[in-house]
């Protein structure tokens, strides 16, 4: 088992953000966490990354318990988020080299060259990270998340705000990494078509709880819907009604 998160709970100011979430990810698996806004997706990811301590439950990554062995666990993890920029005043190659050194990659210069080629971002090498467009930033973020060849890549909204061409390239590259290096993928997304094409398992959250866990088509069918998109829309409508 690559990721073993059991019984995670987290509340903020009396709001139960995550309520007894259990999530296991195996080597080479592609898993998506989906659900309407406020369902607890990002909080769950941040607990898995060790950035937030759960009120209850446990997380193990590659056998390392969090938070005690967070530093060892993070050697096996690559993380990128669509909303997260890279260090402002560094050029792209400098930023990638920085993260390669933090992960103690054996040959950092070669690793940086390799991911730059893989993601076809050679033209961005000397650009300052603060001057990247949102699409370019996402591509460099994916490069950062993959350059140390992690066993698990965690992505929060990786293709949000990207044009369809770049989103396709990102999905394509992630699928290749998964195939070539047996890297597991764990991502959140609001794009249900992306989830259906990129992942083989969906964990559906509602109000911090897991309401379905299985292959996308089975999860949709079990909810009485023809597609994941329909199920998502139904859940979002239900969420809005509950808030009223």
């Amino acid at each position: 088992m690559l990721l073993e998160a059991n019984g995670l709970r987290k509340s903020f100011d009396d709001v139960q953000a995550v309520d007894d979430v259990t999530l296991h990810v195996h080597t080479r698996e592609r898993v998506a966490i989906v659900g309407p806004n406020g369902a607890g997706k990002t909080t769950t990811l941040l607990m898995i990354l060790g950035a937030i301590d759960p009120d209850a439950g446990s997380v193990h990554i590659a056998g390392h318990p969090l938070p005690a062995q967070r530093h060892q666990a993070m050697r096996s993890v690559g993380f990128a988020a669509g909303y997260l920029p890279l260090p402002d005043r560094l050029k792209v190659t400098e930023a990638l080299r920085f993260f390669a050194d933090l992960s103690e990659v054996d040959d950092p210069a070669a690793a940086v060259d390799t991911v730059i080629k893989e993601l076809d971002i050679d033209h961005l090498r000397t650009k300052l990270c603060m001057h990247l467009s949102s699409g370019q930033r996402t591509l460099v973020g994916i490069a950062k998340a993959t350059l140390h060849r992690p066993r698990l890549i965690i992505l929060d909204e990786p293709t949000a705000s990207l044009d369809p061409d770049i989103a396709f390239r990102v999905r394509d590259r992630l699928a290749q990494i998964n195939e070539e290096h047996h890297t597991a993928l764990l991502l959140t997304s609001h794009d249900m078509r992306e989830v259906e094409t990129l992942t083989d398992r969906v964990v559906f959250l509602r109000a911090g709880r897991v309401i379905a866990d299985g292959p996308p088509s089975e999860v949709a069918a079990a909810g009485g819907h023809a597609s994941l998109e329909e199920l998502f829309l139904a859940e979002a409508a239900r969420h809005r009604a509950e808030q009223l």
Binding site: K10, F12, T42, T43, L46, L49, G50, A51, I52, D53, P67, H71, Q72, M74, R75, V77, F79, A81, Y83, L84, P85, L86, P87, D88, R89, L90, E94, R97, F98, F99, D101, L102, S103, E104, L128, C129, M130, K144, I154
Partner: protein
Amino acid sequence: MSATVAASFSWRRVWAIVRRQALVQYRNPGMWFLLLVLPVVDAVLFTSIGVAYNNGLGAVRVLFTGILLFHLVWQLTLAGSLGFLEEVWSRNVLNLITTPVREIEYAVALLVVGLARTVIAVGLIGIVGGGLYAIDPGSAGWVLAPAAAVLLLFGWAVALLVVGLTLQYGDSAEVFSWGTLVLLMPLSGVFYPVDALPGGLQAIARGIPLTRAFDAVRIGIQGGGVAEGDLLIATAGSVVAMGLAFWFVLRQLRRFRQQGWVTRFT
């Protein structure tokens, strides 16, 4: 440092952070101003005040040595507090958390950067004093070495305090990185004995470890040798301040994870 932490401590990660901070410094004109211009301006300003109202070389030396020691502690504090604020400004905190970097490695890197800044700023002030005013920066004698060590210890405690506040308040804590030592400057008697302060402030001033260190240096400049008593009190006070700052930053890191403050930095 426990055996486990020592075994996995990585100087390579420390160096990577130092290099990043150096590149931030290199590409930020404001940081050059703080590092190169302000120490020279302060050295010229305060030494010239001493020359203008000269009651003998002693007053000039006190003012010059005061600003030199003030920059020694201020540059270290700035490197620590602004170094971490740079991660906040560039929203890089979550990126760092999701790497194998340890808090202790990050702190050591900022300390290295701070010491380098201190050497540069103090070196510049020394050049101004020696070159433009014919003042020997070491005129206080051997007392300068332990006094500088105490000041650096206290300066690092202030840096940790500001980092702890930044973890909670984000870039709103920026004012503390500039303001804390500016607040302490008049109270700790950098340029004068605390007897010169109004009565109510004197009691506060005597409770600040920096005050005793500056007192010891003034005694040295006036030819009174090494004031061991003052230095001991300053050392003890700075060790306590460092202990409290260390406890505070660990507590803030724990709260950072428990309260989910990371979402304020994304």
